[in-house]
Amino acid sequence: MYVAVKGGERAIDAAHGMLDRARRGDPKVPEISLDQISEQLALSVDRVMTEGSVYDRELAALAIKQARGDLVEAIFLLRAYRATLPRLAVTKPIETGGGTVRRRISATFKDVPGGQVLGPTFDYTHRLLDFTLAAEGRAQVHPPDEATVSLDPTPRVADVLNQEGLIEAIPQGDEPDGDVTREPLRFPASRSVRLQNLARGDEGFLLAMGYSTQRGYGRNHPFAGEIRLCDVEVEIVPEELGFPVVIGEMTVTECEMVNQFKGSATVPPQFTRGYGLAFGESERKAMAMALVDRALRAEELDETVSAPAQDQEFVLYHSDSVEASGFVQHLKLPHYVDFQAELNLVRRMRGEAAE
């Protein structure tokens, strides 16, 4: 007599045990600490904080450790945790024009007020594996230079252009800022909603979308007006006080693209903006985001919407790694009822075809 396979619960428990052991790896190798992840895998932490939508290095490091280094899984862990947190206050917009600038470059002007500050970048490293890093406990770490941060005022490049009226003013909508975690998407989506979606969006997806605009699928003639990495203060205005109070500091990467715009019936030719912002040092993400943000402004700027990166529904519905990963991977769940229904149908149709 056939008995259907049972024991789903035991199988799950056993799988969790195996996962625990696999996570730890060889017990002879020292266990990694959250501090080590936060300090030495800092860019993983930054990405997880950005797409996980929680600025907390320790939680992000924990998520990375728990996820065995799978960043998309870590992002999911952080998001699920975030969903249970109460909303205590809404901060004032951060002021990226102030704060401590650790890196700041502009591709549009040779020099700008505040100067070009290279900062900690991979840009001019030669991508040669550094075998000295393989030797543990390398004694020599590069000593800090004098000028690692810029202390001069560093106004944003776009604001400089704005004095000449050559670039659009920052578009200000009348609508209050949206929040994709509290309202389902509606189309057309406001820019604040789009930017929030992109900030949480998968870096790989945005990179491919941004790249596609450069290859002609919604070309928008971008210049990297400015990329900056800076530490900024975060402020709230408590109801009972009525004035801003600093509640912490965060590091962000900001990218403002300056894009050519031929003008329309109502607007003279001028430069337009694409904007990207990410937690920590996430330069590739911020740049890709700025390209896609500008592409998504096509409709608002009366440009033809023809490429995937300009299509709001396409981009916003497919950017989220938590949604995408879940749905792609749900295909491994049992579908044998549906498959049986299809099997019956195909057999019947083949039978009829053979007659």
């Binding site: 309202e183 879940g326 749900h330 009822v337 049986q340 149709m349």
Partner: protein, 292 residues
């Protein structure tokens, strides 16, 4: 009589009853009432990230978490079975976060959360069935754009769906949709019944139980109130039919239930068994052929 139920003693501390915070529950509860008031219409809601992946039942879980109370008895099935891994995992989740009694018996449940099946046992009017929905929009494969499908629903513009089904008939002599077969609810809204086999579609029509549908990733909730007309789309010359098997269930002998095909060897051997494990087990009990 709760002999088939089991209460989970320890609930997970640090989280609210049924995991969701109260504000989220209120938001979902409001959406559910709207869904019941406009049968078949997909109400957008601010779906939350759940501790289970999107696509694995987060919509159904959020609906269940928003309706469930301490007195409820929960049954969770996937493919008709209580012991498939995802059903086990979801049942465990509610056990841990609510401590409510769970059951594998359809007749004992006040709430049944399901993926891909409707129980063979007829549901009662004091029960609620919650469907997990991957893609809620019945027009999605015809029109990928939300803005467009929304207009089509507003205008009851369902012609393209009829055309699609009729093209099937013209080419293959029948509609080639075997599951997630589209239905009209109360003569107004075209709706996806979720990926249940079309065998189950007739169970939705004039069902005494309240039917709630949750799509977490797509952020939609919809409903079919009790005793509501649910008609599978068809044509006068090609009426809707459900599949049948030449075989009977190899375990309980049923010729009326949906059967899963089980491959028994690599020489073409196969057998057929009920997909609804509770129904099958109860039938064996009744016939005295109880499993050891």
């Amino acid at each position: 009589m709760m002999d088939g139920t089991s209460a989970t003693a320890a609930t997970t501390t640090g989280y609210n009853f049924a995991y969701l915070d109260e504000q989220t529950k209120r938001m979902i509860r409001r959406a559910i009432l709207k869904a019941v008031a406009v049968p078949g219409y997909q109400v957008p809601f601010a779906s939350r990230e759940m501790p289970l992946p999107y696509g694995w039942g987060t919509g159904g879980i959020q609906v269940t978490a928003s309706i469930i109370g301490q007195a409820d008895v929960l049954k969770v099935i996937d493919q008709g079975a209580d012991d498939t891994t995802n059903a086990v995992s979801i049942r465990k989740f509610f056990g841990r976060t609510t401590g409510v009694a769970t059951t594998e018996r359809t007749i004992e449940a006040t709430i049944v959360q399901t993926r891909h099946r409707v129980p063979e046992t007829k549901l009662r009017d004091d029960q609620i069935i919650v469907y997990q929905v991957p893609v809620p929009e019945p027009l999605r494969w015809l029109e990928p754009r939300e803005a467009e499908t929304r207009k089509m629903h507003a205008l009851s513009e369902y012609g393209p769906m009829h055309v699609k089904l009729y093209e099937d008939i013209a080419r293959y002599g029948r509609v080639t949709t075997a599951y997630d077969y589209p239905v009209m609810v109360d003569g107004r809204y075209l709706m996806r019944p979720s990926p249940i086999p079309k065998f189950d579609n007739p169970k939705l029509d004039m069902c005494p139980a309240l039917q709630l549908f949750g799509a977490g990733r797509e952020k939609r909730i919809y409903a079919v109130p009790p005793y509501t007309s649910v008609k599978s789309l068809d044509f006068e010359d090609h009426p809707f039919t459900i599949e049948s098997w030449d075989e009977a269930c190899a375990i309980c002998g049923s010729t009326e239930s949906f059967l899963d095909e089980v491959i028994t060897d690599d020489k073409g051997g196969r057998m057929f068994v009920c997909s609804d494990t509770d129904y099958c087990g109860e039938r064996r009990k009744e016939s005295g052929d109880e499993p050891a």
